[in-house]
């Protein structure tokens, strides 16, 4: 994620930088960014609002503090080299300041965009200052539900995938069922699940597990089935048992495929999570979105969307970090 700003300057040799000086070339831009954020603070605080909004002062102060922090990072980078890393973000910070300024002008300051669809930046800030408790509860509820469903689905998918790849008899019974049921979107089970299961929580855990299990099963299966026969020959001539062949040969060899399956499973579990929370569960970020729409609280919707995006992105990052640790032996891993 942080590689974007690095890509450009890294190709060109820096003529004036001494050996070992790895400060980014965009470090100087940090001054520009800092002053732009200070200017944004001035714009917010000094230009009277046309819309009836709260938290204008807080927004201005936050922008000002952020601007000063950037200037401090630039100044301090001569003494404390880790601070220089902020330079990588300087182009982004400039664009963000400009974008916020335009947003602020066309909403709060000139009232050009219709309310409530286009709330101002301070309305956005207000969501977090005034409704953080409900948002936080929703985030925790979503995370907990997702975790239960994903762990169950991944465990079932992995076990079934290994069994399918290993045993012809298991394949005979499970393969046709999986071919028929697997491609069906988990959300299609929604009405039935909420009817059959005693609670909406258990119903949605089941749905998320189902959505996760299918890609994990297929990829684990193809990973185990695709292991070179020579790997088994080697282990067999050295006296390996069936158990050893499964756990020490087939599964490690299939692990790169398993992680592709987990990645796809996590993606589809997000989709099912939101749908389940919107339609049945009375908590979570999906429910919060639905609730905010009912009140036409568009700022709250944007705020919840941002939280949701951060949650999903963080979970994917965690999965990739885990993969990088477990598959360190592989060459050319894609960095997330």
């Amino acid at each position: 994620m942080t590689a974007i700003a690095e890509a450009g300057p890294a190709d060109r040799p820096g003529p004036l930088l001494a050996d070992g000086d790895r400060r980014p070339h965009s470090l100087g831009l940090l001054v520009v960014a800092g002053f732009l954020w200070l200017a944004l603070a001035g714009l917010v605080l000094l230009w009277p609002d046309a819309q009836e909004v709260e938290r204008t002062r807080l927004l201005g102060v936050l922008a000002g503090v952020f601007g000063i922090a950037q200037l401090a990072a630039w100044g301090g980078s001569r003494l404390l080299t880790p601070l220089a890393r902020a330079g990588h973000f300087a182009p982004w910070l400039i664009v963000l300041a400009l974008w916020l300024a335009i947003w602020e002008i066309v909403t709060a300051k000139l009232d050009l965009l219709p309310l409530p669809f286009f709330p101002s930046p301070q309305a956005f800030v207000e969501v977090y200052t005034d409704d953080w408790r409900k948002l936080g509860d929703s985030l925790l509820a979503s995370l907990w539900l997702l975790l239960r469903g994903f762990v169950v689905g991944a465990a079932v998918g992995f076990s079934v995938g290994v069994a399918l790849g290993w045993s012809r008899r298991v394949g005979y019974w499970i393969h046709p069922v999986m071919r028929l049921v697997g491609p069906l979107p988990a959300t299609a089970w929604l009405p039935l699940a909420f009817f059959i299961f005693p609670t909406s929580a258990s119903a949605s855990t089941f749905l998320i597990a189902l959505a996760t299990a299918f890609p994990v099963t297929v990829l684990t299966w193809s990973g185990v089935a695709g292991v070179q026969a020579a790997y088994y020959d080697v282990a067999r001539t050295l006296g390996a048992s069936q158990r050893f062949l499964v756990f020490k040969v087939a599964i490690p060899a299939a692990l790169p495929h398993v992680f592709v399956g987990l990645f796809m499973g996590l993606g589809s579990s997000f989709a099912v999570l939101v749908v389940a929370e919107m339609l049945g569960v009375k908590s979570g970020l999906g429910w919060y979105l639905q609730w905010a729409q009912g009140w036409a609280a568009y700022a709250n919707m944007y705020g919840a969307l941002l939280v949701m995006a951060l949650m999903c992105s963080t979970l994917i990052t965690v999965l990739f970090k885990l993969r990088d640790r477990l598959l360190a032996w592989q060459k050319g891993l894609v960095k997330w």
């Binding site: 020579a230 067999r236 001539t237 032996w329």
Partner: protein, 263 residues
């Protein structure tokens, strides 16, 4: 290394191998394809026997049968008088490809056999010794993708030697190496065999390699493979490529393979 060598002086490590009337083949697109036909030979304890023949003639199939990875359709294969019914760690195969597990370090690859039999804890030193024997002690923590072709093949040799094999089955182990690495490894193989005293069955299609390394060279015909000739190579080690007896045997072997006129 020293300890290993001393141990083999006390007890001769090799086994005898005997094949009698072995037939084998595969069903391909509904037709039976004979690969081995009435193959019989004997290899005494500690002998180095090369199986020489044209590419794809079925020599590797014979090695798989001796290793116990497949069962012959007819005939019998015995090791020290006992019928071969399945793989056994006393008969270790080194394949043409190193087939190291890419998710294991060199050390853990070499430790595979001991780990599979639950003997690793008491015998960690044997893994270190085997890696030292093939000159890879400094690469113990490297992953296979970091090794050159020759180093990878040496690692797979170490993986075999850790198990103290009584029979080493080599399936063109040097076939994919560059010629310089090949020469070095040929020398190392002879040294290991003399030091450890195991029996060796080596498949190769390289006449010179067979004559340089083996006590006996069994020449196979084209598929289905039948034994053409059994040449004794009665020369001391280390051998030189341009020894007149070796040149004579080379001409004879090439003649048996139908290539004499091309040289």
């Amino acid at each position: 290394m020293v300890a290993l060598a001393r141990k083999t002086e006390v007890e001769p490590a090799g086994v005898s191998v005997s094949a009698r009337g072995v037939d084998h083949g595969f069903v391909l697109h509904g037709d039976y394809l004979p690969v081995l036909q009435d193959v019989s030979f004997e290899a005494g304890p500690g002998e180095f026997v090369a199986l020489l023949g044209p590419s794809g003639c079925g020599k590797s199939t014979l090695l798989r049968l001796v290793a116990g990875l497949d069962r012959p359709r007819a005939g019998s294969l015995t090791v020290d008088g006992a019928e071969v019914t399945g793989p056994d760690p006393s008969r270790v195969v080194v394949f043409q490809d190193p087939t190291l597990y890419p998710w294991r370090t060199v050390w853990r690859n070499a430790a595979l056999g001991l780990e599979a039999r639950g003997l690793l804890k008491q015998n960690r030193g044997r893994v270190d010794d085997a890696l030292a024997l093939v000159g890879l002690q400094e690469f113990a923590e490297a992953y296979p993708h970091q090794l050159s072709g020759g180093m990878a093949q040496r690692a797979s040799l170490a993986r075999a030697l850790v198990n103290d094999p009584k029979l080493l089955i080599l399936d063109e182990p040097l076939g994919k190496l560059d010629s310089l690495t090949r020469l070095t490894m040929q020398g190392e193989l002879t040294r290991l065999w003399q030091q450890r005293g195991f029996t060796v069955l080596m498949v190769t299609h390289d006449v010179e390699e067979a004559l340089l390394l083996a006590n006996r060279v069994i020449v196979f015909s084209d598929r289905p493979a039948r034994i053409h000739a059994d040449l004794a190579v009665d020369l001391p080690f280390p051998r030189h490529r341009d020894h007149p007896e070796l040149l004579r045997l080379r001409r004879e072997a090439l003649g048996l393979l139908g290539l004499a006129r091309d040289w």
